[in-house]
């Protein structure tokens, strides 16, 4: 019963905060509601017994990605009246996307249930929870069955990272830069000089 109560609490807050992400007037509030939604999704994963996925969701999305979102949104200088102006123009596009997404999800779900021999795949993917911890289960699936896809995903991320660095990195001339090695190597006798100043003479 406690699990059921927890489920309804998490699910209600999740849906409520997901709605508030769209409807809150201040973008910073939107991001904070998004974080709350992530959090409750993690709670739902814990209830499912998938604690590894829950913790990764919190670490990656709440701990890193959402901080970056918040960072960017806080830096924006937004005029709210101007922001509100375009709602009418964007409404059809938004509605179209809002229509396409559920249809696609329905297609996937329908295809999943209609494919032949899906029952064996579903049961094969999940070893019993009380025998193998789900960290080990995910690890063994990811690094044996899907190792090449996993490597490929890593490679794509690496290429994207290198691309971003190449696009934004430029060598600027005439800018003072710190040379840490030089700073560390500096000794006191190079920086200071003890001068014996005679009274009334100055240097």
């Amino acid at each position: 019963m406690i699990i059921a109560i927890c489920f309804y609490i998490f699910a209600t807050i999740l849906i409520g905060s997901a709605i508030m992400v769209v409807f809150s007037k201040n973008p910073v509030h939107s991001v904070l509601f998004l974080i709350l939604a992530f959090f409750n999704a993690a709670g739902l994963f814990v209830l499912l017994g998938a604690e590894f996925v829950a913790m990764i969701l919190v670490i990656v999305y709440v701990g890193a990605v959402a901080v970056m979102f918040l960072f960017v949104v806080m830096m924006l200088d937004i005029n709210f009246t101007e922001l509100r102006k375009g709602v009418q123009d964007y409404l059809p596009v938004g509605l179209l996307i809002g229509f396409i997404l559920p249809v696609e999800m329905a297609v996937i779900a329908g295809g999943w249930s209609m494919t032949d021999g899906i029952a064996s795949t579903i049961t094969a993917a999940t070893p019993p929870v009380n025998e193998v911890s789900n960290t080990a289960a995910i690890g063994s699936i990811l690094y044996t069955d899907y190792i090449f896809l996993f490597q490929l995903a890593g490679l794509i991320l690496l290429v994207a990272m290198i691309g971003a660095i190449v696009l934004t990195h430029r060598k600027r001339t005439g800018v003072k830069k710190q040379d840490i090695g030089k700073q560390v190597r500096r000794r006191r006798h190079e920086a200071f000089e003890a001068v014996d100043v005679k009274p009334g003479q100055g240097i």
């Binding site: 913790m55 919190v58 670490i59 709440v62 701990g63 890193a64 960072f71 806080m74 710190q178 840490i180």
Partner: protein, 354 residues
């Protein structure tokens, strides 16, 4: 705890509690049994902190309120409690008041998975270490929200610095945790401590093995993660006045301090669990096991806290570019290489715990 409550209710009132009540009240009692001593420990550890700085500065430190000044923290607490809470006119009121609470909560929730002795733990999660990592990465929210909601340039600068700093050092902390996990083969903190028994030459603790450099990386990253000197740039007085807490007064400011110190003690506990064998004695020698485990655990935590205070009293603050260089150009490659070396060693000598 639930078991004892049930027995007590049966004995005192002859009332058999339903299952859900035992679970709920038992968990609540467990949480209070850990959270209240932690808050008390924070008050006392602030006193220890000030005494250590004073000793290093050749001063006396707090010595007026109570015997040896022991009640100083409580007097300070009373003082800030009686002051007026000022909310700036341009501040976002709800978030402004939420932020200190968040930073205190994230300082406390991590204690749920810390094992004080074998089996003495609120929740023996089997992903305990990931939970702690998640909680420590959440601590940044209290600071960011405070900085933004204050509607002040200084506060915002402090918040941005803090966010950048915490995210940078989390990366190296993550790799340190990975290298420890590889050696243990489990994410459970109790398993991690038990795996360190007699790990090398009769010593208990990964510190005495090849993971020693990772301990130093973890220690320094923990300093950065908790905004302690020499990495306390988010509140650098000379540059941005008091950083993210500039607009805070009274109890809302004190909550930041409580959260900060709770996180610091948590980090000290994590260091003793990961590298010094938690509740195990330092040396695997039978008579030393006569001393209760939690005393070993608290002793180790106290030693690390002493090191924190010692560093605060003696090391000047880092410059921001030096901080970023240390995180990204020194700790990240070194810890990454060490993860590769550790896993290579484990694979080569077939020591992977499966």
């Amino acid at each position: 705890m639930g078991k004892y409550i049930d027995i007590f209710m049966n004995w005192a009132f002859g009332y058999q509690m339903p299952e859900w009540a035992i679970l709920t009240f038992g968990t609540l009692a467990n949480v209070l049994l850990v959270a209240l001593p932690v808050l008390l420990a924070v008050a006392m550890i602030v006193y220890v902190d000030r005494k250590v700085w004073a000793a290093i500065h050749l001063r006396k430190g707090p010595n007026v309120v109570g015997p040896f000044g022991l009640m100083q923290s409580f007097a300070d607490g009373l003082k800030v409690f009686l002051k007026e809470t000022i909310i700036p006119a341009g501040a976002n009121k709800f978030l402004f008041l939420l932020a200190p609470g968040l930073s205190l909560i994230f300082g406390l929730v991590g204690w749920a998975v810390i094992p004080f002795d074998e089996g003495v733990v609120v929740s023996d999660l089997n992903v305990g270490i990931l939970y702690l990592f998640a909680v420590s990465s959440l601590a940044v929210y209290g600071i960011i929200i405070a900085g933004w909601a204050s509607n002040s340039r200084y506060a915002f600068l402090g918040a941005m610095r803090s966010a950048a700093q915490m995210i940078s050092y989390e990366v190296s902390i993550g790799f340190v945790l990975v290298s420890v996990l590889l050696c243990v083969g489990s994410l459970n903190l109790t398993d991690i401590v038990l795996a360190q028994k007699n790990v090398m030459f009769g010593f208990n603790g990964f510190f005495f093995t090849g993971l020693m450099p990772m301990f130093f990386i973890f220690f320094i990253s923990a300093l950065a993660e908790t905004n302690r000197t020499p990495f306390d740039l988010p509140e650098a007085e000379e540059e941005i006045v008091a950083g993210f807490q500039i607009e805070y007064s009274s109890m809302s400011m004190a909550l930041f301090y409580l959260g900060e110190y709770a996180t610091i003690i948590l980090m000290c506990g994590l260091m003793s669990i990961l590298f010094f064998g938690g509740w195990l004695p330092i040396i695997d020698w039978e008579p030393l096991y006569m001393i209760p485990g939690f005393i070993w655990f608290f002793g180790k935590m106290f030693f690390f806290f002493f090191c924190f205070a010692w560093i605060k009293a003696s090391v000047p603050r880092y410059r921001y570019d030096q901080l970023m260089r240390l995180g990204w150009k020194v700790f990240l490659p070194v810890s990454l290489i060490w993860v590769v070396l550790t896993s290579g060693y484990l694979v080569f000598f077939c020591k992977f715990a499966s």
